[in-house]
């Protein structure tokens, strides 16, 4: 990878680190009722996936995207950069608490094979060089908000699934009441518009209606308002959920691409209240740029 990118990864990760960290002890270590346990009292993460009262798998819980190791990051970005970032790590937000796809949605691609169109490459280069100012206290969006150090919480009711992202304090609505995506999206939104349906035990979520302001990853891979995402959530057992996300944006990419990752259950944990503007000190620095 080119050095500019490396510098930018460092900068972005660093700004994540200073933008938000609240520890709220009352949220933690509550032994939730209904958690299957091993004879020694620990949560049994390989027990069967729980069911909601309507018989569907219950995806509710506090989840965290399975993080990459330092070695994975070194392979992708080079050892020197990774060592640099690690010296800056904020406790709980170290590099190895983040999914590889948060850093680059094309982590599985060889650089030459990334299907960016010229328009996307141009935006990407501008972001990587730091020419595009950081947006302070605005949503990370999909998928980044769910791939970083902070947990996400799923709350499933028969009519909808709500996802609370601690990382940027946003909430996402996924309708499961039978509706389909609207024919026309008049006002694009940061988190788009999501409709889900059950394909046997897999929740298939389709989303569209995005604005073009979020970045697909920390490096800055862009998307247009034409972005269409299909997510497949399958709770494999009590403690693990397989996620597959397919991104289709013909204006920016020559072909659809997908990422696959695992969500690990964090039993007895919760998402914290995260108010980015509170005690926020980044804005003044980023506005100067």
């Amino acid at each position: 990878m080119i050095p500019h990118q490396c510098r930018f990864v460092w900068f972005e990760l660093f700004s994540f680190a200073i933008s938000s960290m609240l520890v709220q002890a009352q949220w933690l270590n509550y032994p939730a009722p209904g958690t299957p346990r091993t004879p020694d009292g620990k949560p049994d993460l390989t027990a069967p996936a729980p069911r909601a009262m309507d018989g569907k798998p219950d995806l509710s819980g506090t989840w965290h995207a399975h993080p990459a190791s330092s070695e994975d990051f070194k392979r992708l970005f080079g050892a020197a950069v990774v060592d640099n970032i690690e010296t800056l790590s904020v406790p709980g937000m170290e590099l190895n608490t983040v999914s590889i796809y948060a850093a680059s949605i094309f982590a599985d691609f060889k650089p030459a094979e990334v299907p960016m169109r010229p328009a996307a490459a141009q935006i990407f280069r501008r972001r990587v060089s730091g020419a595009e100012p950081l947006q302070t206290c605005l949503p990370l969006g999909i998928p980044v908000a769910g791939l970083v150090s902070e947990a996400t919480k799923f709350i499933q009711s028969p009519q909808q699934l709500v996802i609370l992202y601690e990382s940027d304090g946003t909430h996402r609505q996924i309708y499961t009441d039978g509706r389909t995506l609207p024919k026309e999206i008049i006002q694009p939104a940061w988190l788009g518009y999501s409709a889900g349906r059950w394909d046997r035990d897999t929740l298939v979520v389709e989303s569209a209606g995005f604005n073009d302001k979020t970045w697909l990853d920390i490096l800055g891979h862009p998307h247009s308002e034409a972005l269409h995402i299909v997510e497949r959530y399958r709770r494999r057992d009590f403690g693990h959920m397989d996620v597959e996300m397919t991104f289709d944006d013909p204006e920016m990419y020559t072909q659809p691409f997908n990422i696959k990752y695992v969500l690990d259950l964090l039993p007895g944990s919760d998402v914290f209240e995260n108010i980015c503007n509170e005690n926020e000190k980044d804005r003044i620095h980023t506005e100067k740029k």
Binding site: V23, P33, M53, T136, Q159, V162, G169, A189, W190, L191
Partner: protein
């Protein structure tokens, strides 16, 4: 109240930044007792049409296809009343607002956010008290006196907190799952109400804007207790304060399909000599939704307010 379509149309033409700046300037000329008119206008809104006018499955309808708001209360799979839905506080009404707060109460009108779209308690949580009967302790009165409109947390893109988020022009959405109820509102942080039988933690190491809420069913009424607040949110637009000792007990009773009675009791012995209670009715907004709203987006006020 204007229809959701009209409201949507109005909002689509709003320039939140400009509107806010104008409201802030107007505030400078508004005599102090009316400071909250301007405050309310500072809560801006965006329109997302795809959220609206979706004919929600499971809504009982009259013969002409309209939602039957007098139909029986829906039940969740476990048999408890299902509080899920999009709700908006029954507004107090313009005449009553003028009677309580004076003729100029509608001085700042943003379409969809007129004075008759909010509850009187959004302006003054002690609206039912004669001034001389206010249970404020001197410490609370002093904080109220010192507060400036520009200190109002939502003006600075911070949470408005309980109960303000549920008393203003924007609706809220309740999503009820067996172990947890989530309340999402336009522009405020989501609120979690744990209904899995847990008790309060023994201590609140880190007080928060929305506090920590536990709910239990008493017959068909959901009783929610909340503690663990920080002392930063305002109880109303006027600035009635609370301390970290605040405890709120809410009672939610869905009377029929379209109406929910809510009673909220506030107890904060550090700031108020006795607990006080407000009662409001929530009206279902069938086929509507809460919008995505990001206060920081295109935000241009804070530099003017400093």
């Amino acid at each position: 109240m204007i229809s959701s379509q009209e409201r949507k149309d109005c909002r689509a033409h709003l320039q939140p930044g400009q509107e806010l700046a104008r409201a802030a300037l107007r505030f400078a000329r508004v005599p102090r007792p009316r400071k909250w008119f301007a405050l309310l206008a500072l809560l801006a809104a965006v329109a997302n049409a795809q959220w609206l006018n979706y004919s929600t499955p499971g809504v009982p309808r009259t013969r002409d296809g309209k939602p039957n708001l007098a139909a029986p209360v829906p039940r969740a799979p476990g048999g408890k009343p299902d509080l899920s839905g999009v709700w908006h506080v029954q507004p107090t009404g313009e005449a009553e607002m003028k009677r309580i707060f004076g003729e100029n109460v509608g001085i700042v009108d943003v379409p969809g956010m007129e004075i008759d779209t909010i509850s009187k308690y959004a302006l003054n949580i002690l609206a039912d008290f004669k001034p001389e009967e206010s249970p404020m302790r001197p410490a609370a009165a002093e904080i109220l006196r010192r507060r400036k409109a520009t200190d109002f947390p939502p003006t600075n893109c911070l949470p408005s907190g309980i109960p303000f988020y549920g008393l203003v022009s924007e609706p809220v959405r309740i999503v009820q799952s067996p172990a947890l109820i989530v309340v999402i509102s336009e522009g405020d942080t989501a609120r979690q109400i744990h209904t899995d039988g847990r008790a309060f933690p023994r201590e609140f190491a880190q007080p928060s804007w929305m506090g920590y809420s536990i709910g239990r069913w008493k017959g068909d009424t959901l009783v929610v207790e909340t503690a663990g607040f920080n002392d930063k949110s305002w109880l109303d637009g006027m600035g009635h304060p609370h301390s970290e000792a605040l405890r709120v007990v809410e009672r939610y009773h869905r009377r029929d399909f379209g109406h929910m009675d809510v009673e909220m009791t506030f107890e904060d012995p550090q700031m108020y000599a006795k607990p006080f209670t407000i009662k409001v009715t929530e009206e279902l907004q069938p086929d509507s939704d809460v919008f995505e709203y990001l206060c920081n987006e295109d935000e241009k006020d804070r530099s003017h307010l400093r």
